[in-house]
């Protein structure tokens, strides 16, 4: 059986594009979240939608589950292989098929990186969703995770930019949803697919909307003694009706790590750093930028650096974007979550994180998209000491509980995947899962697409219940159902 399937995969995609050797399989054992590892039975690298179809048909017939994989940068174990399953890597499908500037659309294959999408739209246009991992992550992975980024508070997320998808359903059928046009008649199945974490099918072609590059961009970083000051600036900016292109906050520990790694000139004794970027029409940008500077001063900024040119702007961003990777300088191991809170609850949630950090004796660095309340608490721990990883995980879980208690979410952009499915019941109830499962069953009744992710407990799809029929007893007037 197993041998049969592998043979079919080879026939579909060519000998070289099927990996079964233990050493090579190791590359695919985990995604960006290295804590979890599963060795798949095989990895296959199709080069076209047709090949993806053949692969899915073969898996369907053999009843073998599979997991799609883009660049493997996911942070929730979404692309973690299934035991004895197949990993389907779309990396070879990496062509930009069309740049249609007059209609503000691009058509790309799923393996194209996020940055390459934006580059191909340039220099006059760009693709707004910009995850920090944009140099590596794939647009297919972005679609699956509904990826966000620093500029999403103003511009929106992946789901607001995808207008068309070609995808292969788990039984091998190729379908198209949407296109270059908006509002095609019928259900918005495209909207339901984006963010479905690889559980509904494989995207093989993606049409996105691109927008003109703004006339002006103005960037500053302001430093404060404490995150509460920076938090007040954010509230004041929003209250003033200003919508920054990006507004990002870092606390002292994150600043220390990022500065050590990048030498961007952030004062290492600062309690908080706030990066604010305004973009848009030149006149408006200039006007409002002065307001932002004033709000920083009013809330006790210890210093403000305004980027005078693109090089300086890049330097400001370099520290922010390096914050994750730089944590390695502060701690051997860290665990990152991406809980979301209503922004006005920031002070109390940060306080709670500080409390938890003390209680567990583990430093927690905070880097976050302040505009939309998307936290990225990095829990630092010593992975060489037994039990620490588990305690870090427990602490992270408590942070997520604090987010949900504040009216927020367990994940703003990284997805539920394998890692956070156990936290799903903190946000959703049985009836909600039941509704999710209906969608899943419509796309994947056999449950072969990325099983064991998103939902807290495994579920099967029953037969579609037929139309209601009157029970003979009812017909006879013996019983009624009300």
């Amino acid at each position: 059986m197993a041998h049969d399937l592998i043979q079919k995969l080879r026939e579909a995609c060519g000998e070289d594009n099927v990996v079964t050797h233990a050493d090579q399989l190791r590359t695919y054992e985990s995604d960006g979240l290295l804590r979890y590892r599963v060795t798949p039975r095989a990895v296959v690298l199709p080069g076209s939608a047709r090949e993806v179809q053949a692969v899915l048909r073969a898996c369907h017939e053999a009843e073998v589950p599979w997991v799609a994989r883009g660049s493997g940068t996911g942070l929730s174990g979404g692309a973690l292989p299934v035991e004895e399953g197949v990993v389907i890597s779309v990396n070879r499908m990496n062509r930009v098929l069309e740049v249609d500037l007059p209609n503000q659309r691009m058509v790309v294959e799923p393996g194209v990186t996020n940055l390459d999408v934006s580059k191909a739209a340039g220099p006059t246009h760009f693709y707004p969703p910009d995850p920090s991992s944009q140099i590596v992550c794939s647009i297919g992975g972005n679609v699956a995770e509904n990826a966000g980024g620093a500029h999403c508070f103003k511009y929106g997320f992946t789901t607001n930019y995808v207008t068309g998808l070609e995808l292969v359903l788990p039984d091998g059928e190729l379908i198209e949803l949407g296109g270059k046009e908006l509002d095609r008649p019928g259900y918005d199945l495209l909207g339901a697919f984006v963010g479905s974490e690889g559980t509904l099918g494989i995207a093989t072609k993606i049409t996105v909307r691109i927008v003109p590059v703004p006339e002006a961009v103005r960037t500053l970083v302001a430093f404060f003694d404490h995150t509460s000051n920076a938090g007040r600036v954010v509230s004041d900016i929003v209250a003033a009706g200003i919508v920054p292109g990006a507004i990002e906050m870092m606390d002292s520990l994150a600043i220390e790590a990022a500065e050590g790694a990048t030498h961007a000139g952030y004062p290492s004794d600062a309690g908080a750093a706030l990066v604010v970027e305004l973009d848009g029409s030149e006149a408006e940008c200039e006007h409002r930028f002065q307001e932002v500077e004033k709000l920083c001063e009013d809330n006790g900024a210890t210093s403000i650096r305004v980027a005078q040119d693109e090089a300086e702007r890049q330097l400001i961003w370099k520290a922010r974007k390096a914050a994750f990777a730089a944590m390695g300088r502060v701690s051997t191991h860290y665990y990152v979550q991406d809980g979301v809170i209503p922004r006005t609850r920031l002070p109390e949630v940060l306080e709670r994180i500080e409390e938890l950090s003390k209680e567990y004796g583990m430093p927690v660095a905070n880097v976050f998209h302040a505009g939309d309340g998307n936290l990225h608490p990095l829990v630092c721990y010593d992975g060489h000491t037994e039990g620490q990883a588990e305690r870090a995980e427990e602490l992270s879980g408590k942070i997520l509980t604090a987010c949900v208690d504040a009216g927020g979410s367990i994940t703003g952009e990284h997805g539920v995947g394998y890692d956070k499915k156990r936290y799903m019941p903190r946000m959703f109830e049985e009836a909600d899962f039941d509704a999710f499962q209906r969608l899943r069953c419509a796309f994947d009744p056999a449950g072969m697409a990325n099983p064991g992710k998103v939902m807290p407990t495994p579920r099967l799809c029953g037969e579609v219940p037929g139309p209601y029929r009157q029970h003979p007893l009812e017909a006879a007037g013996i019983a009624e159902r009300f």
Binding site: Q104, H125, N146, G148, C152, F153, F157, T159, I175, K180, E181, L182, D183, R184, P185, G186, Y187, D188, G191, A192, V194, G195, P212, P214, E215, V238, G241, V243, S281, A283, E284, R288, V340, I341, P342, T344, N374, G408, S409, T411, G412, E413, H414, G415, V416, K420, M424, M427, F428, A431, D432, A435, F436, L439, V454, V464, P465, P467, Y468, F482
Partner: protein
């Protein structure tokens, strides 16, 4: 209450239609009168308005106009401005269920883009929620998108969480007129592609003349509008900058409805705008369009519906307003049902009671 009524219909297999203010109740394929009409009139609470977080929770029957009043008092808006129908009565649930939108869609998106969370009642008695009340969330499937634009055929929308935006302090509009559809389309496109930030970019055409309109907002709206007018002039349009621009946009919105002619929504492309204007003109119709999004609303005599479709094929032209007998005589949706959509319908509405026969499934 209404959730229980839905469950009851599900159990008894009674066909039902959900009704908000009834301003778009006729849209869709005409079907026999339902056995039960589920009204959302009593679901009229603004449950939360979280000013600092720019979100609100509304029950489905809240009239949009009433919610806007409250948001406006805080300098905020729900960036959703479709025509609100007779007496401005349209409810949030009805607008979301029909996926209707207005000129602000240019910058802020459609209902699907503004809904953060949703609670629905299904025909087997399930009451389920998806999404959350924060502006960024990817936990669970985004079922609100599926229900937005589903015309009440999957379930009853009980409550929604919406994202709000700050209201621009001032808006000013640049308008460029011409009797040459190519010039109007070029002007609108140039403006769409210009690096200026626009709230709305629209086009209108009728009676041999038309215009491209760009609305800008903010403290420096005047300066920006002048820049926009220069772009329109560059395309050969006769331009004007209008400070008191409410009427201009009310016209764009209102032209999406008609009480005596047919209104068709064309899912087209930006580069096809001139062709769409010409088609409308040649059939004695008029048009308003979201230029950069490529969506047009064409108003014409009902007898010309088929002609417009032929002219604009393969772009789908959905009939919105039209006399009932006309809508009964043709496929209002201009679409083939897909097996996947049918499976979705069967799963969410297993009793098959939600507005049977009105939607392309």
């Amino acid at each position: 209450m209404s959730a229980e009524l839905v469950a009851e219909c599900g159990r008894a297999g009674k066909a039902l239609r959900v009704r908000g203010a009834g301003t778009k109740f006729e849209w869709g394929t005409p079907a026999p009168d339902p056995e039960v009409v589920v009204s959302t009139a009593e679901l009229d609470r603004i449950v939360e308005h979280n000013e600092g977080d720019l979100t609100a929770i509304l029950e489905a029957g809240v009239p949009i106009a009433r919610a806007q009043e409250q948001f406006s008092a805080a300098g905020q808006m729900l960036a959703l401005d479709p025509p609100l129908g007779e007496g401005g009565a349209a409810t949030i649930g009805g607008v979301i269920a029909t996926g209707d939108s207005g000129p602000l869609r240019h910058r802020y998106g459609a209902p699907r883009d503004l809904v953060l969370g949703m609670t629905v009642a299904l025909s087997d008695g399930t009451v389920a929620k998806s999404g959350s009340k924060v502006i960024k969330n990817v936990a669970g499937y985004d079922l609100a998108k599926l229900f937005a634009g589903s015309f009440g055929t999957l379930g009853l929308i009980l409550q929604v969480v919406v994202r709000l935006h700050p209201q621009p302090k001032r808006t000013v509009t640049a308008i460029g007129r011409s009797n040459d559809p190519d010039a109007v389309a070029r002007g609108a496109s140039d403006l769409a592609h210009a690096s200026l930030e626009k709230e709305c970019v629209d086009v209108r055409w009728g009676g041999g003349e038309g215009a491209a309109l760009g609305r800008v907002g903010g403290e420096t709206a005047m300066e920006q509008a002048e820049a926009a007018a220069r772009v329109l002039a560059g395309a050969g349009l006769d331009t004007e900058v209008v400070e008191d621009d409410f009427e201009l946009w009310a016209f764009q919105r209102d032209s999406q409805r008609s009480s005596d002619r047919a209104v068709m929504r064309v899912s087209g492309r930006q580069a096809e705008l001139a062709r769409t204007m010409r088609a409308a003109e040649s059939l004695g119709g008029s048009l308003v369009a979201r230029a950069s999004l490529g969506i047009s609303w064409v108003t014409l005599d009902p007898e010309r519906i088929g002609d417009l479709r032929r002219e604009l094929a393969p772009f789908p032209c959905v009939v919105l307003d039209a006399p009932r007998d006309v809508r009964a005589s043709l496929d209002v949706w201009d679409a083939e049902p897909s097996p996947l959509a049918q499976r979705v319908k069967q799963r969410f509405d297993p009793a098959g009671v939600f507005a049977p026969g009105t939607f392309p499934v």
